[in-house]
């Protein structure tokens, strides 16, 4: 119908993370059908759309560890009215940030040259590979973030409550039980 209200557009992406937050989003199970009644997905790993268009809500999992992460994050910030940092990697750097006190070259050598199980040892140097940063940065240190949803990953119920509040135009409230950094 011509006068039908357009659906809320949501984009999601995973930067330096493990996709656990996306998996937790899928863990809302049958409520995915309710979600699809309310929203339309733009760029996400579910749609395989390569670039983010204008969206109401952008959800970012993972920290910023290389130039490609920074480009994607900048695109999200420019296109999404509301940007949500989801999970510990996006909020603190989390496990990927454990490399922040190791020299990057030492780190590469340890991973690609010294490990006894690696065959044909060489440090990857393809021009298509994004340039790694010296550190892994939480996304709020790179762009402005509107909301933070903690957890590694946040539980599916917390994601559901958070998302439905945002979609319905309410201020998301994270109760004591839902606020967990682990």
């Amino acid at each position: 119908m011509a006068d039908e209200k357009p659906k809320i557009r949501i984009a999601t992406c995973s930067l330096a993370g493990c996709f656990g937050c996306h998996t937790s989003l899928l863990d809302i199970d049958e409520r995915l059908f309710d979600l699809m009644e309310m929203v339309e997905f733009d760029r996400t790993p579910f749609t395989d759309i390569k670039h983010c268009g204008p969206c109401d809500i952008g959800i970012v999992e993972g920290g910023v560890s290389n130039a490609e992460n920074a480009r994607v994050l900048k695109e999200f910030r420019e296109n999404c009215n509301v940007l949500v940092a989801i999970g510990s990697c996006a909020i603190t750097g989390n496990v990927p940030a454990l490399r922040n006190n190791i020299d990057l070259w030492d780190c590469f050598q340890e991973v690609y040259l010294y490990d006894s199980g690696t065959e044909g040892k060489q440090i990857p140097n393809d021009p298509e590979l994004p340039l790694p940063f010296d550190k892994v940065y939480p996304i709020y240190e790179v762009v402005k973030v509107d909301y933070f949803l903690h957890g590694c990953p946040p539980p599916a119920d917390a994601i559901w409550r958070f998302l439905t509040a945002l979609i319905q135009g309410r201020e998301p409230e994270i109760g004591y039980e839902s606020l967990r950094y682990d």
């Binding site: 510990s88 940030a97 006190n101 606020l179 950094y181 682990d182």
Partner: protein
């Protein structure tokens, strides 16, 4: 002789020598804190327990209560300051909660929950910190140390060993181990020492004990920091007797 102070309008009795914190905890009035433990001499370093007493901001764990003192504690402004302090403690160390064995048992983490810390707010320092696995039974990870000095006080006052101290100044302050090599394995610290069990974060861990209590059943999965600290006070009072020993 018993006198009274008021905390947030509530009349709270105190006896000579008690601090604002002592009187508050005895009356089950909660003032958030991290470096205070009723078993040890107050230290006043974490500043979470700062309250307004007769118009001045003071650390309630070190400020003696005095007759008719008017204390303001639980206000949005003071809790906002406390939240900022917890945020600073998080970014000044390397607190990777999902990778930490102490998660769920960590008082810093619980303070974040209690004070509704939704974001780290400040830029992360990611400071380079030392890890010491030299002791056969105790693991020391300075990435998580918040310089509360509970281990320093426990080792000095209870264990009588002086295993720990604080060295350096300002941002370079760090926990130092009192042995020639600077390694924990070269001290006489024992796993049964009080100092091995007072760390409010995961900086001092007992080896081979990780995950014996599953995540979800740990202290702060079950209770708030407020409940934990009030129970801690009650336990110390019952051990020391009604007059506090």
């Amino acid at each position: 002789m018993t006198s009274t102070i008021t905390i947030d309008g509530k009349t709270v009795p105190f006896t000579e020598g008690q601090t604002i914190m002592d009187a508050a905890l005895a009356a089950k009035v909660y003032i958030p804190h991290l470096c205070h433990d009723p078993e040890f001499k107050p230290h006043g370093s974490c500043k979470l327990c700062v309250v307004e007493a007769n118009g001045r901001n003071v650390t309630s764990c070190t400020m003696p209560a005095s007759p008719d003192m008017v204390v303001i504690n639980d206000t949005p402004e003071l809790n906002e300051d406390r939240r900022a302090l917890v945020q600073m403690l998080f970014v000044e160390g390397n607190h990777i909660c999902p990778a930490c064995e102490a998660t769920g048992n960590c008082q810093l983490q619980a303070a974040g929950y209690y004070l509704r810390m939704q974001s780290p707010h400040f830029m992360h320092f990611y400071p380079p910190r030392r890890v010491d696995a030299s002791h056969p039974d105790i693991f020391l990870d300075l990435n998580r140390c918040i310089l509360c000095e509970l281990c320093v006080r426990a080792s000095r006052d209870i264990d009588k060993k002086n295993v720990f101290g604080i060295s350096g100044r300002g941002i370079d302050s760090h926990l130092a181990v009192n042995s020639e090599s600077g390694r924990l394995g070269d001290t006489d610290m024992a796993v049964t020492d009080k100092a091995a069990h007072v760390c409010p974060t995961g900086a001092i861990l007992i080896k081979r004990k990780g995950y014996t209590v599953p995540i979800g059943q740990r202290i702060f999965d079950q209770k708030t920091l407020r409940e934990f600290h009030l129970e801690q006070q009650k336990r110390v009072e019952s051990e020391d007797g009604p007059d506090g020993g």
